[in-house]
Structure formats: C-alpha cells, structure tokens
Amino acid sequence: MSARRAPAATAPVAGAVGLALRAHPFTPFVVALAVALLAFLLPGPWGPVALYGVVLALAGATGVGGAARTALLVCLPLWLFLFLLHGVLGEGPRVAAGPLRLSAAGLALALAQAGRFGAIATASLGLLRAFRPSRFLDAAAARGWPFHLPYLLVATLQAGPRLRHRAGLVLEAQRTRGLRYGGSPLARLRALGPVVLPLVLGALAEVDDRAMALETRGLGAAGHGAVARTPLDPPRDTAGDRLVRWGAALAVLAALVWRVLAWRAAR
C-alpha cells in the first residue's frame, strides 16, 4: 500500500474557514495574551471598552464570531452585577439616568471592568475555538521546543471538552439508575453529587491509565528533550502572522510605556 500523504504544510486546516483557524497556532495565543494585558493597561473606562470593541470586530472578521456570542452570555450576569454593585450602590456624586440616580465614579468603574471582562472572555474563547492541538504541537516541535511543556498546555486545554463529554456519559448512566436531574435549582444541585463524584474519580483513574499509555508511546523520550519530536505537518509562519504577533507585542509595550510615563507625570 502507498503510505498516506500527510497534508502539505501550506494546506488549510481541514474545515477551517476563518483566518484565526488558518493562522499560525502561536498567533492567536499572542493576540489573546496581548488582549489580556491591554485590558488592564489601558485606562478606564473607555480604554477597555474600546479594546472590547476591537476584539469583537476581530473575532467577527477572523471566523470566531461564535466566541463573541458565547462570551456575551458568560459576561451578561457579571455586567449586571457590576452595574448594581458600582453604579447603583457606588458612592460619590450621582448622575441621573431616567428614574435612577447612579454613582458617576461607580459607573465608570463598572464600565471599565465590563470592558475588561468582555475583551478577555471573547479573546480567550476565540483562542479556544481557533485552537488545534496537533497544529500547536507541530509548531512547537518545528521550533525545537521540548515536548512536555506544549503537551501539558494542550492536555490542559483538552481537559475541558473531555470532562464535559464524560459528565454527559455519567449523567446518562445515573439517569438510567433512577437519578432525576431537573426541576428547581436546589433539586439540580442535590442531583450533582452522584454525577460529580464518579466524574472526578473516573477522571483521576483516567489520568493514571493515560500516563501509562503515553509513556509507552515515546512521550518520555520526546517529553524530556532526549529526542527532538518530528513535526508531522509544521504550520506555515507567514509574514502576516509575524506582523500580527509583533504588532500585538508592540501595542502592549506602548501601553505599558504610556502608563508608566503617565504615572510618573502624575507624581
């Protein structure tokens, strides 16, 4: 039989439609990290809010717009809480907002924090959507990195979906044994016990089994740098990728310098 030809290095990722999925795997990481840093470096309230706007536009333009919708659902309760905590209950001069009289400083703080959370959540979820473990490991191998660090990162990122899948199986198994999951939040909370315990114990047992399996598949050799892992299909690092990464790093540096200078001037 003729050996199966691995996809060419320049071929797009199977099923990838957006720029984020086609990009070099390090690029979304660097962008997400830069967003997290900028969210705290940019002055509030409008810095983080503007950053959130940029991140939303980026997510939509690079094919991970679904991450923005998910992040919005995650952030909404938090935003409401921030509004109540800082805007309604905050101290200082009040401003009229319809029938409400809200704290001006509290509103500014709530807006800044909402922008930060929105930007970070969207960038993180976008990163997860764009993440392809094998491409990331190939990129790391192509750089000659020891295998265990990227593998640990990948395994950690993979743990969420795997646990969710396992939780579904455990829940189904417990339902067939009479567990009733539904009704009020309190009833759902009570039903969590028989799901969480087998989930955690099963996950722990799986760790042992998987560690043993991986040990016999050369992970020890590559993991500790004794052998350089062969990249199966090293992703292409284009000039555009490098430009985006350097741009993100420079933006962080510029924001940092700006804040330091502003801080020194204020003293």
């Binding site: 039989m1 042992d208 089994d209 399996a213 050369g218 020890g220």
Partner: protein, 287 residues
C-alpha cells in the same frame, strides 16, 4: 505490502524474570509471587489466569510502568530486551522497542491526534523518526489492521473496535521487538479478532516476542506457542497450549479452557477435551 524488517536473531530472552515479586501499595498479597520466566523472541506467549492472577501486572512490570507509575514494590530480577525497564538508562534503550496495548483503547489514544494518521504517527514522531519513514510506517500499519480507510477520521469518534485496531496499528508502526498485549481483542468483532491473530503470528515470524495476557482461550488456542498459567501471582503451569487446555488440570489450577472444551467437559467427556468446533464435531461423530 512490505512487512517490517526482521529483527536480528537474539539469544537472550526478550523478557526475563527471576524471582520477581510485586506488591501494589496497600495490597494484602503479592500481585506477582516469585515469578521466574524466560520469554523468547519469535514466539507468541500467552499469560492465562483469572482476574487477580497477575497477568496484567506482569505486563506493566515488563514495560517499566510498575512500580514506577503504579507505586508498590518490585523485588527479584526483571530484564526487558536485556535492559532494566525501571532504570532511566533502560527506559531510553527501550523507547519504541516495546509496544504495550492496554484493555481500554479509548484511554490509549493520545488525545491530541486530530486524525487517525496523527494518532498512529504520535509515537514515531515522538521518537524523532524522519517524516518519510513515519508516513511509510503509518500507512503499512493501518493497512495491516485494515483501517487505512479511517486515516482522515477523528480517533475519538471511532467505534470501540475501530479504536482498538487503530491502537494496535499505532504500536505496529513502531515495529517493536516486544509486544505486551492485555486483552488485545476485547473490543473487536470476529473479523477483527482473526486479523489481530494473524498479525501477531506475523510479528512472531518477524522475530518479535509477543506476550498476551488474555482469558480469550477461543482466540489464542491456535495462536500461542506457549501457555503460562498464573494463579494468585504464581506460575502454576507452563507448556504447550493445546496440551494444557485439553487437560483437566486447567479447570482446577487455571481459569478454564475454550468454550468447546467447557461444553465437552460439561457433557461428561473425558480429557483430553476437544478445543475447537471442528475437533468437537469430530469427537462427537466418532463411533
């Protein structure tokens, strides 16, 4: 299809145990109790015993995983392909030369292979093989286990039987000198079981040592060259599979025999019992 290259003739046993005793942490008795064995290259060895007999533990110890990852204590001597699998130097020497197949194929998947190709290429890539060699080895291994058509599929979305074949192919791609298999056909259909049996015979013919821990007497009766029966961590019988399986002692000292032998014994036939359907028909048809 070209088979993997033959291994150089080896005089030393592929797996040698001398008074090997192993106990898991907190266990009340030894999982392996003064086991002395020499398993040779070029043969299929079958470890047969009921649950708790120590068959799986012996494989883990041979792979260097027990007690290093499981905890516990191992005394006596154990050499895998002439190296000490517990020592760092030995593990380096054994990397890629020992294939361990555990009973749960889903847990043997790397978890990072997006396709079956990447999954089977995982170990060769870790060992730093050139990409051309990896492609050839993966293609051949997938063909041997008749799963070449799955090459673009996601491993996690395969059936249990398909995952089992992919895991076996992943090990075959390494062309190991020593196979350690724990219930390798547990998730397979009849065709898959036959294919696994054929490949393991091919591997032994290539010069690899094959060690299988299994209760699947129906599959292994005509695959194994040597049967080692364990009970409570001790070797209680060691010899030709057919001779041992057809006798009465295997029912008292061991875990039993093939389905046909069980039927014959239940029907009151005296030993030696028939072991296969064909033998059973011949025996019952005899005047």
């Amino acid at each position: 299809m070209s088979a993997a290259p033959s291994l150089a003739p080896a005089l030393a046993p592929a797996l040698a145990l001398e008074g090997a005793t192993f106990r898991y942490p907190g266990a009340e008795r030894d999982a392996l109790d003064r086991v002395t064995l020499a398993l040779e290259p070029g043969r299929v060895h079958w470890l047969f015993g009921p649950l708790g007999a120590g068959c799986s533990t012996l494989l883990l110890a041979a792979a260097g995983l027990a007690p290093r990852l499981t905890g516990g204590t191992l005394t006596g001597r154990l050499a895998t392909l002439g190296a000490d699998p517990q020592a760092a130097e030995g593990r380096r020497a054994l990397a890629g030369r020992v294939a361990l197949v555990t009973p749960s194929p889903a847990l043997q998947l790397s978890g990072i292979g997006a396709t079956v190709f990447e999954e089977v290429a995982f170990a060769p890539a870790n060992l730093g093989w050139p990409i051309g060699r990896i492609r050839t080895a993966v293609g051949e291994a997938l063909a041997r286990f008749e799963v070449a058509h799955l090459v673009e599929r996601a491993p996690a979305q395969l059936s249990g039987g398909e995952q089992q074949r992919v895991v076996l192919a992943a090990m075959a791609a390494l062309a190991p000198a020593l196979w350690l298999l724990d219930e390798p056909a547990g998730a397979l259909d009849a065709a898959g079981r036959r294919r696994v049996a054929e490949v393991l015979r091919e591997e032994a013919a290539r010069g690899a040592a094959v060690v299988i821990a299994s209760e699947d007497a129906d599959l292994l009766v005509d695959v194994a060259d040597r049967l080692v029966v364990l009970a409570e961590g001790r070797v209680v019988a060691d010899g030709a599979p057919r001779a041992l399986l057809a006798g009465d002692a295997i029912w008292t000292e061991g875990p039993g025999s093939t389905s046909v032998a069980a039927l014959a014994r239940g029907a009151g036939l005296a030993a030696p019992h028939p072991l296969t359907v064909a033998e059973g028909v011949a025996r019952w048809s005899a005047p």
